[in-house]
């Protein structure tokens, strides 16, 4: 297996006025293709920051970041946006669905950036919603869905473009036990059946137990 994510000596700091706040220190990490990696650690340890860097929605202060064959630290904003749309799917803790769009339309959103025809988009969306078990909820709005269902729509939106990597930031953090289990089962299935590389941040040891590898972060270092 080859490393699909290569993090080399990456550091990240934030600035508050003139005060530098270091978050990640000279961190290195490889994630193999098809791996399901869980990142755990206390609040402020830098796990979400690391996830954001891998997903290309934030930039490292120093170091190299090669994800899915691209040195993403060198891409400009426009290039990074294109790369994200093709290579990475995102699952957020609070789902972040667009409330005025139906489940179908939310899942269709990333496909609007592709050259697929309307019929092709329809096929992709319906297939993906069926995979997450929401084939019968396509035309429901987010407010008409339960938390677990919303998260499944968010997962469908994340995988509809068939990205190689799926990143999830506490995907079960806002769900009850039953819904959380459903989401974890779905993610396991995406990893095993659809061979998606998954990087998941979680506080939940049970969720982390579903991953094939678990890493702990503390004060910006892997421990």
């Amino acid at each position: 297996m080859s490393a699909i994510i290569q993090v080399k000596n990456v550091s990240k700091s934030y600035w508050r006025n003139s005060l530098e706040i270091p978050v990640l220190h000279d961190l290195s990490l490889d994630v193999e293709e098809g791996e399901f990696l869980a990142l755990m650690g206390p609040s402020g340890s830098g796990k979400t920051t690391l996830l954001n860097l891998i997903a290309g929605i934030d930039r490292p202060s120093r170091g190299e970041l090669n994800v899915a064959g691209t040195d993403i630290a060198k891409l400009n904003e426009s290039g990074l946006a294109k790369w994200r749309s093709a290579s990475v799917g995102f699952v957020f803790q609070f789902y972040n669905l667009i409330p005025v769009l139906t489940a179908y339309e939310n899942v269709e959103l990333p496909l609007l950036l592709t050259k697929l025809s309307k019929a092709e988009r329809k096929k992709h969306v319906e297939t993906t919603l069926s995979i997450v078990g929401l084939g019968d909820r396509m035309h429901h709005y987010p407010k008409q869905l339960s938390g677990g269902q919303e998260q499944r729509v968010a997962i469908a939106r994340a995988i509809v473009t068939d990205p190689v990597i799926l990143v999830a930031d506490e995907p079960t953090g806002d769900l009850d036990k039953v819904s959380a289990q459903e989401i974890l089962t779905l993610m396991e299935r995406l990893n095993k059946e659809f061979k998606k590389t998954i990087v998941m941040v979680t506080h939940d040891p049970h969720a982390a137990g579903k991953a094939s590898r678990l890493l702990h972060l503390e004060k910006g270092d892997l421990v």
Binding site: N52, A55, I57, D58, E77, S78, A81, K82, R84, S85, A86, F90, F92, N96, I98, P99, V100, L101, E105, E108, L109, P110, L112, L113, R157
Partner: protein, 385 residues
């Protein structure tokens, strides 16, 4: 789903807010259109003045008369083609509210004003009737007067009962040609005045001077005024446009205020829409972060925000302009008849209203677009609205 559908859904997210914004824009467009209509009508009355016509009047004021003997001297100035005297008659037709311009003019009046269309046969008929008068089409229609009817005017500047026969009705050549005037023979007025108050006889209030070349208007005006320098009735000659402007000068401050107000309304529309757009964009900070995360570019986000702003301003402008026509028609019915010689929406008013709405749609979106594009994705997700 197309992007336009998303724009529409976003615009309708807060139906009450969007509806109120659209209503606000519509009302502002109507107010703008109405004010601009009044202003442009006023201006077009001035613009309708002939470029090849000068007006010679008493230097002090046009309410003071000039001797009839000046006519021959003015005619002698090189470049002058036709000269005709005219007198503002005033008076009341049945009721004081029945206002329309009434003037006594020399018989070459229709040569001086070719935009007042009258047939040769009608003109000949007018010439044969000593107390004949010619009415503008609008006045004739308004007071249901036809050829042969008697018009009785109760004189004020020239006291007494004055009886006229409608000899003809003239048609306006252009949309902005005054079709409300009443013209009658200067000789009819002059003969009676000479009998009743001889001292006021053989006098006109102004001369209309047709010249061969509008480019020579300044030179000819100087030459005319030089003829009467140091006389008991010095003259002031100016272009008809300047004369008309002077005639409405008393209303100038009101027109300026209306002009200012019409543009102030544009500013108000912008604030209303900008407020809506800023609130919408602020509420959607997290959503914009989601769009960016999914790979939507600055171009797409600009399109979403600008599209929503233009959609709201466009609907508001569309409703406002659609309602402007019946409202202007209603306004025309409500104002005293003859107050404006004509009253219609100039195409430029519609262009200005629509253009302003589009411009405002753009401007109102500038700040939200700037904010959306410059907020980092990670900051967008941390935003708590």
């Amino acid at each position: 789903m197309k992007i336009f559908k998303l724009i529409f859904k976003n615009a309708m997210r807060h139906k009450l807010r969007t509806t109120l914004t659209i209503v606000g824009i519509s009302i502002a467009v109507i107010a703008f259109g109405l004010l601009r209509t009044v202003v442009t009508i006023w201006d077009s009355a001035v613009d309708a003045a002939g470029a090849d016509r000068l007006v010679t009047r008493q230097a002090v004021s046009f309410i003071f008369p000039l001797p009839l003997s000046y006519k021959a001297k003015i005619e002698s100035v090189p470049g002058v083609k036709i000269v005709g005297g005219a007198v503002w008659f005033g008076g009341t037709y049945k009721d004081k509210n029945n206002f329309f311009a009434r003037s006594a003019a020399e018989d070459n009046f229709f040569e001086l004003y070719p935009e007042f269309l009258i047939s040769q046969s009608d003109y000949e008929k007018y010439m044969k009737e000593r107390n004949g008068c010619i009415l503008g089409k609008s006045t004739a229609e308004q007071y249901k007067l036809k050829v042969g009817d008697i018009v009785v005017i109760d004189g004020d500047i020239f006291p007494g009962r004055w009886e006229f026969v409608v000899s003809a009705i003239y048609q306006p050549r252009n949309k902005n040609t005054d079709a409300t005037q009443m013209i009658f023979h200067f000789d009819y007025l002059n003969e009676r005045i000479k009998q009743e108050t001889p001292i006021r006889g053989d006098q006109v209030f102004w001369y209309i001077v047709k010249i061969d070349n509008p480019n020579n208007s300044a030179k000819i005006s100087e030459q005319i005024d030089a003829l009467f320098k140091n006389s008991t009735a010095e003259t002031k000659t100016e272009t008809e446009k300047a004369f008309t402007q002077g005639f409405v000068a008393a209303s100038g401050a009101i027109i300026s205020a209306m002009n200012f107000m019409s543009y102030a309304i544009i500013g108000i529309i912008m604030l209303v829409l900008a407020n809506t757009m800023v609130m919408s964009a602020r509420e959607r900070t997290r959503e914009y972060a989601v769009f960016k995360t999914l790979g939507f570019s600055a171009f797409h986000l600009t399109g979403l925000i600008l599209g929503e702003s233009l959609l709201i301003s466009g609907i508001g402008a569309g409703i406002g302009i659609s309602l402007l026509y019946p409202i202007v028609a209603g306004f025309e019915q409500a104002i005293p008849k003859g107050f404006f010689p004509f009253f219609f929406i100039e195409p430029i008013t519609v262009v200005l209203a629509a253009g302003s709405a589009i411009l405002i749609g753009f401007l109102a979106a500038v700040f939200p677009i700037h904010k959306a594009l410059n907020t980092k994705i990670v900051d967008g997700f941390r935003f708590v609205g």
